[in-house]
Structure formats: C-alpha cells, structure tokens
C-alpha cells in the first residue's frame, strides 16, 4: 500500500540524528511552556522562530510542531497539580484532575493524561497520513473563487467558534485583514497604509504582531491581575494507574480522540473547545455523572485525548491546503515562507520529505512526550515554582532578540512595543486577538483571490455561486452564521418576554 511506503519514507526522514534532535528540543520546549502558565505555544513559536532560520525546512517544521503539541501535554501537568491551566486547553482538566491530586491520586491522573494524549496523537498522525493526499489532490483543482470562498468560510468559522463575543470576533477578523494588506500592493505597486515609512513597505511582520499581542500584551495583563498558585502535592508518587483506572479510561480516550479529530479539522476551534466538548460528553454518557467534579478519571482521560487529537489534526488544512486553521498554524505557514517554500497543496508532491517527515516526527514526538512527562514530572514541578517576576523578563529577552533578528531592524522592535499596547487594549475590551491573527495572515491571499475571481468572471460576483465547490463553501459559511445567530436570537427574545 502506498500509505505504508510513504510512512516508512517519512520515518526515514524523521529518524536522522538531526531531525530527532530538533524533535526532542521542540517537545521539551513545548512541555516547558505548557507547564508554565502565562506563556502559550503561539508566543513561544513566534519568538523562537529565528532559532530555525539556519535549520533545513524539515527540521524547522519538526521543532515548531513539537513545541505546539508538547505544550498540550505540559498544560495538563499544571492543571492537575496546581489547579491552574498551563494552557487554555487544560481548563477542564483542572476540574477532575486536580480533585484526583487532592485525593493523593496525582500520579494516575498524570499517567492517564499522558497515555490518552499518546493514543490521540497516534490516531491524529494516522489521520493526517490518510486524509492528506486525497485532500491535497482535491485542492489542486481549486481556482481563485474556491480559495476565496474557502478562506471566507474559515475566517467566519474561526470568528464564531472562538471564545468571546461573536460580533467582536468577526470585527477582529476584518481588523486582521486590514493589517494584512499594509505594505506594497502586489498588483499596482501602490504603498498602502505605510505613512511614508520605508520599513512598512514589506508589510507588518507577523512575528511583530504575534509577539506584541500574545507575549507582551499577555504579560501586561498578567501583571495587572496576577494569578495565585498553590500546590497540593509536593511529591508525585505512584504513577501507575490501577487496572480499574485503565478500564474506566479506555472508552473516554477513544471518544475524546474522535471528537478532538473532528474539531481539529474545523478552523478556529482551539483545543479548548474540543476538550470541553469531550468533558460534557463523558459526563452525559456516564452512569454516575455525580462522580464528575469529585475526581473522576474519565474527566481527565477524555478531554486530554481530545485536545491532543485536535492539536494534531490542525495540521491537516495547513499541510494540504496551505491554509491556517489557527494562529499557531499561521505561524507555521510563516515559517515555511521564510524557508522559501510556498505553502499549498503542491507541497506534498514537490516536497514529500516535508510532509511525511513531519508526520512521522509527530508520532516520534508523541512517544518522546510520554517519556518526558512521566519520569521527569518532578523536574517540571520544580520549574513551576519559578516565580513569574523572573519569568516574564526572560520572555521579554527572547522576544526582543527574536524580533530583531528577522530584519535586523530596530523599527520592528518599536512596532512590537506598539502592538503590545494595542494588544492590551484589545484584551481588556474583550476583543479576542486570535481571529485577528488569522485574518492578518489570510488578508493578502484573500484580496488576491478575490481580484482574480472577479477578473475571471468579468466582474460578475455570481462566480461564487455558479461553481459547485465555491457554492458549497459559501453555503457552509451562511449555515455557520445562521446556526450561531439562532440561539442568540432565541435568548434575546426570551429576555424581552421574560
């Protein structure tokens, strides 16, 4: 079978000493930042991007991917031991995971989280390998109208599914699109929104926006409202889950994996939505729903598997269509572009080592994570005790070098400072910056595809509904909007009548 041959080829790529090393570095950094609350994979990948400039593209992507899914693993450790989600995806893990820790069962909780994540990661890896090639083949037939409609669907889905107010998220998408077109217009050479500043003629760097908003903005927010950390376990003993634990966890892990994979392919849904849905599902199907919240191991197994499957499957649209389904994936695309690779469905055929090597490395990385997380748990716990006042200046240091090194330009640093301030404003006003980042990345592409589509159809907008695939995406966009608006309409009516 072709799939088998491809996977073996991929493992051949991933098993070189260099790529293994990059994978190990990636998952270690990922676990580290996953454990530490207050810094997420997005900001980390953005500021560590320069570390990958000199690496070959495969190695760079393997490391960045490792940071991403490693963070999902690490996030659960903090959730279980400190009752603080290290990452947003681990919010629901706090509920039962931390209860288990208080009952002295932190070990089994951590072990089940790792095992569930590993199973989910393996499944996700297989799914990418299976679904990738046919999807890319379909995508090769896409013209400008299809791409425009697909991006529109992705952005709308990202906005309505992200946490927070829907109108604000949609507005932030538009904000991002606008930020994305700053710079020289490719068609006419006109300088747009550059205010005569030469450094802006290439546009605003995406690292500038990502670090400004997601690292510096976040730090200011954290300093304003510091979180309290309290430990209930100083030492984790007895990692092994009992036979009973394993029996109870098996079905939730499998259900969580399937659920997470489904949400993973949808654009804009962060791992948090997948893990939350899984928790609700487990509670619903359980014969003893009253155990949830009291340290039910199912409440750890399901969500932890779901968020990892989600993280893994987010790679599918990125690798096959060249479209980001989340902010992190937007950064991955940026990393590819910096390496001189034009992302899109062609990557799979022109650079097979990239696609299959990355997939194989993910499986290796997932295995490494089980090893990293369980025996080294004591080390991660110690790291958690590093106070924030030492941590955030370090984040600042790495951010600054990271940004400066992209263009060797102090201007980028000033712009980052500005976006830090803007980011604080957005966060305080409840305007979620994640959809903005997606819009920003897709902005230039969307404009270009819109222009081409209109040229193709001689200015007739019906091109979006006469071509079946484009029509499908448009209908899906409308459906998403209608579904999301309906309950709100009902609720508002209820308010008026009540």
């Amino acid at each position: 079978m072709d799939l088998f041959g491809n996977l073996i080829y991929g493992f051949g790529v991933a098993f070189t000493l260099q790529n293994l090393a990059y994978c190990a570095i990636g998952v270690t950094i990922g676990t580290l930042i996953g454990v530490l609350p207050g810094i997420g994979p997005l900001a980390t990948i953005a500021m560590l991007l320069p570390l990958t400039f000199n690496a070959p593209p495969v190695a760079a992507l393997i490391m960045l991917a490792g940071i991403y899914y490693g963070a999902q693993y690490g996030g659960s450790t903090t959730a279980i031991l400190v009752n603080l989600p290290g990452e947003t995806s681990a919010v629901v893990t706090c509920i039962d995971g931390h209860q288990m820790a208080r009952q002295g069962r932190a070990g089994p909780a951590l072990a089940i989280a790792a095992i569930g994540s590993f199973i989910a990661g393996t499944f996700g890896t297989l799914l990418i390998a299976l679904a990738g090639p046919p999807l890319a083949e379909v995508a090769l037939k896409f013209g400008a109208p299809e791409y425009f409609a697909l991006m529109l669907m992705g952005l709308v889905a990202a906005a309505v599914l992200s946490q927070g107010d829907m109108a604000k998220s949609l507005a932030m998408v538009a904000m991002g699109l606008l930020l994305g077109i700053v710079g020289t217009d490719v068609n006419t050479g006109v300088q747009r929104f550059t205010f005569g500043i030469t450094e802006l003629s290439d546009g605003i760097g995406f690292i500038v926006i990502a670090v400004g908003v997601f690292a510096i903005g976040e730090i200011v927010i954290n300093l304003g409202d510091p979180e309290e950390r309290r430990f209930y376990t100083d030492r984790v003993k007895n990692l092994m889950p009992s036979r009973e634990d394993l029996k109870r966890s098996l079905a939730p892990i499998l259900r969580g994996t399937v659920l997470g994979s489904f949400f993973g392919v949808l654009p804009g849904t962060g791992p948090a939505i997948a893990s939350f849905s899984s928790y609700m599902l487990e509670k619903k199907v359980s014969k003893h729903p009253e155990r949830f919240g009291q340290g039910a191991i199912e409440g750890v197994a399901g969500p932890e598997s779901a968020n990892n499957a989600d993280a893994q499957c987010k790679f599918i649209p990125m690798l096959t269509l060249g479209l980001p389904a989340s902010g992190v994936m937007a950064l991955m695309l940026g990393a590819l572009t910096i390496q001189g690779i034009q992302p899109g469905p062609e990557v799979m055929t022109t650079r097979p080592e990239l696609f299959w090597g990355l997939i194989a490395s993910m499986w290796i990385g997932n295995a490494l994570l089980v090893v990293l997380n369980l025996p080294l748990i004591g080390l991660w716990v110690k790291l958690l005790k590093v106070p924030y006042r030492l941590l955030f200046p370090a984040i600042m240091a790495f951010s600054a070098v990271g940004i400066y090194s992209v263009n060797n330009s102090a201007f980028d640093i000033y712009l980052t400072a500005l976006f830090g301030i803007v980011g604080v404003l957005w966060l305080k006003l409840g305007c979620s910056p994640a959809p903005m980042l997606l819009g920003y990345v897709l902005g230039p592409m969307m404009e270009e595809h819109l222009r081409r589509a209109m040229l193709m159809s001689k200015g007739d907008p019906s091109v979006f509904i006469t071509r079946p695939i484009a029509l499908g995406f448009i209908l899906a966009t409308v459906a998403i909007l209608v579904i999301m608006v309906l309950p709100a309409v009902k609720q508002r009516r209820g308010e008026i009548q009540g």
């Binding site: 109108a167 507005a171 106070p387 200046p393 400072a417 830090g420 305080k428 006003l429 404009e447």
Partner: protein, 150 residues
C-alpha cells in the same frame, strides 16, 4: 437615565472599531478604488473599513444596552515600562551593542513588575544577557556586536 461611559467594554470596543474603520476609509481614498472587475488598491481596504464601522456601530448599541464593565486592573506601570524597555532595546542595539541593550531590556522589564527586587533583577539581567548571547550570537551566529564603539 445616567449612563456610565467610562467603564463600558462593548461601547469602547465599538468606538475603537469605528475609529479604525473610519481611518482606513479616509486613508484608502488616496488609492484608486477601481471597479468590481478591476479592483484598485483602494477597493479591499475601503470595504474592510466599512465593515469595521458597521461592527463598531453595532457594538456601541450593544454597549448602551448591556453595560458590561471592563474587568480586572489596568497594569499602568507595566503598560508604560514594558514598551519603553523594548524601545530602549531597539535604540541601544543600534548604538551601543547587544550587551547594554539586553541588560537594559531585562532590568527595565523586571522593573515593570509589582514585586520588583533591584539586586535580583540585576543578576537576572546579567544571567540572561550571557545566556542569550551564547545561544544567539555564538550558537546561531547572529551578527550583533556585543559592544559598539566602547
């Protein structure tokens, strides 16, 4: 009825969006709008600007009804000191070299915190300067002088 403008999350979101959208529309008037068939460089930004204004108006209306306050504290000190440290880093990188830039950035950032301990921050700055220099300058080979003209 008295209306509390100062602390209304949705109202100010709306104002922010209207201001941004209006600015985008005004600025993009300098670029050719074109037609639907041949879109000029001003087409897309003008449409986006209009979208922002519409969302902004909607949110102002929501704010007038929902009156949801802005939660949490504004870390005013951090909001000023952190961007300032970054700006200093940029200036010093160009005129004084990597070591002074990094020292000032880390020490300055630490000073933005609520629990600032000068001696500890100084040690942290020194440690991080050495660490980043080893990784980025010796390790990756970024071409930055440690000191300029000293």
């Amino acid at each position: 009825m008295q209306f509390e403008f100062r602390n209304n999350k949705d109202f100010w979101s709306g104002v922010m969006l209207i201001a941004t959208g209006a600015a985008a529309i005004v600025i993009s008037r300098n670029y050719a709008f074109g037609t639907s068939l041949r879109m000029g460089p001003g087409y897309f930004p003008a449409v986006l600007g209009a979208a922002l204004v519409i969302f902004g108006l909607y949110l102002v209306a929501v704010g007038l009804r929902r009156k949801e306050p802005i939660r949490g504290h504004w870390a005013v000190r951090a909001l000023i000191v952190l961007p300032l440290s970054l700006v200093l880093f940029g200036v010093l990188m160009e005129h004084a070299g990597f070591v002074p830039a990094m020292m000032v950035l880390v020490f300055g950032s630490a000073a933005a915190g609520t629990d600032f301990r000068p001696l500890e921050a100084l040690l942290l700055a020194a440690g991080l300067t050495v660490f980043t220099a080893v990784i980025f300058i010796w390790g990756i080979g970024l071409p930055y002088p440690l000191f300029v003209g000293w």
